[in-house]
C-alpha cells in the first residue's frame, strides 16, 4: 500500500503539469481541478483506512528510495498518527477550495468560471494550488530532514503567487513580506537541520527520533533547537515573528487565506512535533520556558490585537496568532497531553479558521469590504444563513466545548498545569492563567465582532460597497439605477420601499427613515435584481432580491467543515486516539 503516499504527491503534481497543455477552458478546467483534488482527497482517505486504528506506534506505508546517494539523501515517505490527520486535512481543504471556486457570481478573483477564462487567470490559479498541495502534503509525509525542507520551501512559491497575483490592493507588499519573512525563517531552519546533520551524521527522521537526541550534547541540542525553532516559529507564527501573517491574510484571496491558515501554518507546528521536540529533547527542555512564554504572550497579545481590529480578515489572522499560541503552549509543556493538545489544536484550528475565512470571504464578496464598521450590522437579517455560519465558526473558534476548538485549548492548559518534570511549575502555572485570560479575551473579541456585524439593524449598513458584489453587467445597471435614484430620491423612496416589501417581506426591513441616496439605489438594485434573477438563473439568489445568501457551491464547501468541527468537538477521541500513542513515542514517555 505504500504507493498511496507516492500517489498523494504524484497525482496533484501530474494534475498541475497537465494544465501546462492548453487543452480546455471553463467547464473542463473545473472538472479537471475537482477531479484531481478529489482523487487526491480520496487517496488520503485510502491512506487513512490503510493506516488502521490499532494504535500501534511507528511509521506506516513507508517508501524509502535513494535520492541523492552520494549525500546519503533518501526519498523517504511515511505516515503516522501525527501526520495522517494533517494530510487528510490538507487534501480536504484543497478539494473544498476548488469546490468553493466553482461558485457562481461574485467578483472574487478566485473563481473558476463556467465559460470563458476571465481576467482572474483561473488556470494559473488551479496550477498554483495543486503545486501548493504537493508541497504541503510532501512536508507532512517526508521523513528525511532535507526532503522535509525541500517540500517546506516548495510551498512558499505558489503561496507567494497566490497572494501576489490574486490578492487585494496591497498584495505585492504583502506577498513580498510573506516570502521574505518566511524565507528568512527557512534559512535559519536549514542551518539548524544541517547542524543536526553535521552532529549526528544522518538525516533520517525516524532514526533521529528514536535516538532521542543521543550523541548530541545539551548545548548543541539547545543551539539546534533554537535555530530550528525560530525557523518553524516564523511559519507558525509565534509572537513576535508574526507580522507577515495579518498582511498576507488581509490581502490573500479567500482560497489563499483558507489554505494559508488551514494548512500552511500547520507546517510550522508539525515541524515542532516531528523534528524539534523528538530529535532534540534536551534542547526542547532548555528552550521550553521561552517557547511557553512567547506562546502565552502571543495568546494574550493576539486577542488584544483582535479587539482593536477593524478588518474582519485581519482580525481572524490575529486570532490565528492567539490560537497558534495555544498550540505552542501545548508543545512547550513537553507532556503527552500537551502534545496531544497541540496536534488536536492544529487540526481544529485548520478546520475552524478555514471555515471562518471561507465565510468572511463570502461576506467580503457580497459587501465589497471586510471592514467591520462598513459592514454595519444586521447581517442576521440580511443574510441569515451566512451570518449563522459566521456565528457558528466564531463560537467554534472561541473554544466552546462540544466544538473542535475547545479540546486543543483545554488540553493545552491542562498540560501547562502539570508540565514535564524539569520545567518550572510556577512558571507554567502563570502561563496557564494567562492562557485562561486569553480564552476570555478570545470570547470577548469574537462576541463583540458578532455583535457588531450580525446583530443590529440592517439599515445601518453602508450600501455603496454592495455595488461591488455583483457582476459587471449588474454593476452598470446598478450604477445607472443609482444615478436615476439620486435624481429623484424622494419620489422614488416610497415606491422603492413598496417594491421591496412586495418583493420579499422576509429579509431585514429597510427603514425608510434612513434610506438615503445610496440606500435607495441599493433597494432599487435589489428589486431590479430580483426581477432579473430568474432569467439569469442564479439559483443561489435569495428571494426578495437581496444579496445572495449562501449558494449551493459555498454550502458544499463549508458543510464538511461544519460537520467535522462538530464531530471532533463531540467525539475528540477520533483524533486523540490517533495521536496519543504516537505522542508517547515521540516523547519517549511510557
Amino acid at each position: 500500500m505504500s504507493w498511496v503516499l507516492v500517489a498523494l504527491l504524484v497525482v496533484p503534481l501530474a494534475g498541475a503539469l497537465m494544465l501546462l497543455v492548453p487543452y480546455g477552458k471553463g467547464r473542463l478546467l473545473r472538472a479537471h481541478a475537482l477531479t484531481v483534488s478529489g482523487v487526491t482527497f480520496a487517496l488520503s482517505l485510502v491512506a487513512a483506512v490503510a493506516y488502521g486504528s490499532d494504535g500501534a506506534v511507528g511509521m506506516r506505508l513507508v517508501t524509502d528510495l535513494a535520492w541523492v546517494p552520494w549525500l546519503n539523501l533518501r526519498f523517504h515517505l511515511g505516515v503516522d498518527g501525527v501526520s495522517l490527520p494533517l494530510v487528510v486535512l490538507t487534501t480536504l481543504l484543497t478539494f473544498l477550495c476548488f469546490v468553493y471556486m466553482c461558485r457562481e457570481g461574485g467578483n472574487g478573483p478566485d473563481r473558476l468560471p463556467r465559460g470563458e477564462l476571465g481576467p482572474g487567470r483561473p488556470r494559473a490559479l488551479v496550477f498554483t494550488l495543486l503545486l501548493l498541495e504537493v508541497g504541503v502534503v510532501g512536508t507532512f509525509l517526508a521523513l528525511d530532514l532535507l526532503l522535509f525542507f525541500v517540500f517546506f520551501e516548495v510551498v512558499l512559491i505558489p503561496m507567494y503567487f497566490v497572494i501576489a497575483i490574486w490578492g487585494g490592493h496591497a498584495r505585492r507588499a504583502a506577498a513580498n513580506k510573506f516570502i521574505l519573512y518566511t524565507l528568512l525563517g527557512s534559512v535559519v531552519l536549514l542551518i539548524g537541520l544541517l547542524f543536526v546533520w553535521a552532529r549526528t551524521g544522518t538525516l533520517d527522521m525516524v532514526a533521529l527520533a528514536s535516538a532521542h537526541g543521543a550523541g548530541m550534547p545539551r548545548s548543541a541540542q539547545t543551539l539546534a533547537f533554537v535555530a530550528i525553532g525560530v525557523g518553524l516559529a516564523v511559519k507558525t507564527p509565534m509572537w513576535p515573528l508574526h507580522t507577515w501573517l495579518p498582511a498576507a491574510h488581509t490581502e490573500a484571496p479567500t482560497v489563499g487565506s483558507v489554505l494559508l491558515a488551514g494548512v500552511l501554518l500547520k507546517m510550522g507546528t508539525y515541524g515542532f512535533a516531528r523534528i524539534a521536540i523528538p530529535i532534540l529533547p534536551e534542547g526542547a527542555a532548555a528552550v521550553a520556558p521561552w517557547l511557553g512564554a512567547f506562546a502565552v504572550i502571543g495568546i494574550v497579545y493576539g486577542c488584544l490585537a483582535c479587539l482593536a481590529q477593524r478588518d474582519l480578515k485581519r482580525m481572524i489572522a490575529y486570532s490565528s496568532i492567539g490560537h497558534m499560541g495555544f498550540v505552542l503552549l501545548g508543545f512547550a509543556t513537553l507532556t503527552p497531553v500537551g502534545l496531544n493538545a497541540a496536534l488536536f489544536g492544529n487540526i481544529a484550528h485548520g478546520l475552524i479558521t478555514a471555515l471562518l475565512f471561507f465565510v468572511v470571504g463570502g461576506i467580503k464578496e457580497r459587501y465589497g469590504t471586510a471592514d467591520i464598521p462598513a459592514l454595519g450590522g444586521g447581517m442576521l437579517a440580511r443574510l441569515p444563513h451566512l451570518a449563522s455560519l459566521l456565528t457558528f465558526a466564531c463560537v467554534a473558534s472561541l473554544g466552546l466545548p462540544g466544538l473542535a476548538g475547545f479540546w486543543g485549548e483545554m488540553l493545552a492548559l491542562l498540560g501547562a498545569f502539570d508540565p514535564a518534570p524539569g520545567l518550572s511549575r510556577p512558571l507554567f502555572l502563570t502561563f496557564m492563567v494567562l492562557g485562561g485570560i486569553g480564552t476570555v479575551l478570545t470570547a470577548a473579541y469574537f462576541l463583540v465582532m458578532l455583535s457588531r456585524v450580525t446583530h443590529g439593524r440592517p439599515t445601518e449598513t453602508v450600501h455603496a460597497p454592495l455595488l461591488a458584489a455583483v457582476g459587471p453587467a449588474e454593476t452598470r445597471e446598478a450604477v445607472a439605477a443609482a444615478e436615476r435614484v439620486t435624481e429623484k430620491v424622494t419620489a422614488d423612496a416610497e415606491q422603492v420601499v413598496e417594491e421591496t416589501m412586495a418583493g420579499g417581506e422576509d429579509s431585514g426591513p429597510v427603514d425608510t427613515a434612513v434610506v438615503d441616496d445610496t440606500g435607495g439605489a441599493m433597494a432599487r438594485r435589489d428589486t431590479e435584481g430580483a426581477r432579473g434573477s430568474d432569467s439569469s438563473g442564479g439559483g443561489g439568489r435569495a428571494r426578495g432580491g437581496r444579496v445572495r445568501d449562501v449558494t449551493p457551491h459555498e454550502l458544499a464547501a463549508w458543510v464538511p467543515l461544519v460537520v467535522l468541527i462538530l464531530l471532533f468537538g463531540l467525539w475528540p477521541k477520533a483524533l486523540l486516539s490517533l495521536t496519543d500513542p504516537v505522542v508517547h513515542g515521540l516523547l519517549g514517555a511510557p
Binding site: 496591497a170 505585492r172 507588499a173 504583502a174 513580498n176 513580506k177 521574505l180 498582511a247
Partner: protein, 149 residues
C-alpha cells in the same frame, strides 16, 4: 637578446595603456590607449616566438591576427563613438552615465559621486516606496537614460 628587455618594455607600455584607459576622458584617447596595450601584448608575442623558436611561428601569426583584429576593433569602436556622438553630442566618458544607479542631475557636477541632496531625496523615496515591505524596485531608474542631455 635578453628576453627581459622587450618584456619590460611591453610591461611598461601596457601599464601606460592602462593609465590611459583609466585616466583619459576623451573616448578616442581611450581607444588609443587600448591600442597601446594591444601593442604591448604584440611585442611580447613576438619576443616569445623568437625566444622559443616556434616552428609554427604561432607568436608572430597571432600578432598578425591581433593587428588585424585591432584594426577592425578601431573601426568598430570609432563607429560606436560616432553613433554616441550623434546621440549625446559628447564623447566624454564620464558624462556617459546611463549605468548610474541614481539619476545624474546635471552634467557639470556629475563626476564621481552625486551631490548630497540628491542622495537624500532618492533615499527618502526609496524608503517611502518600500514602507510596506522589504526591498522594492529602486525608484527613478527608468527616467535616467534619455532624460540626461
Amino acid at each position: 637578446m635578453h628576453v627581459v628587455y622587450p618584456a619590460v618594455v611591453s610591461a611598461l607600455l601596457f601599464s601606460i595603456g592602462v593609465y590611459g584607459v583609466l585616466a583619459r576622458r576623451n573616448t578616442i584617447l581611450v581607444l588609443m590607449s587600448v591600442e597601446l596595450m594591444l601593442n604591448a601584448v604584440n611585442l611580447n608575442l613576438v619576443v616569445f616566438d623568437v625566444w622559443l623558436r616556434d616552428r609554427l611561428h604561432s607568436g608572430q601569426v597571432l600578432t598578425l591576427f591581433v593587428i588585424v583584429i585591432a584594426a577592425a576593433e578601431v573601426g568598430l569602436g570609432l563607429a560606436i563613438i560616432l553613433a554616441l556622438y550623434r546621440n549625446r553630442a559628447t564623447v566624454d566618458l564620464d558624462r556617459l552615465r546611463a549605468l548610474a544607479e541614481f539619476p545624474v542631475p546635471s552634467p557639470e557636477d556629475a563626476d564621481d559621486h552625486l551631490p548630497e541632496n540628491a542622495t537624500e531625496e532618492t533615499a527618502g523615496q526609496a524608503s517611502r516606496a518600500s514602507a510596506a515591505t522589504g526591498p522594492t524596485r529602486p525608484p527613478g531608474r527608468d527616467d535616467t537614460p534619455e532624460a540626461t542631455p
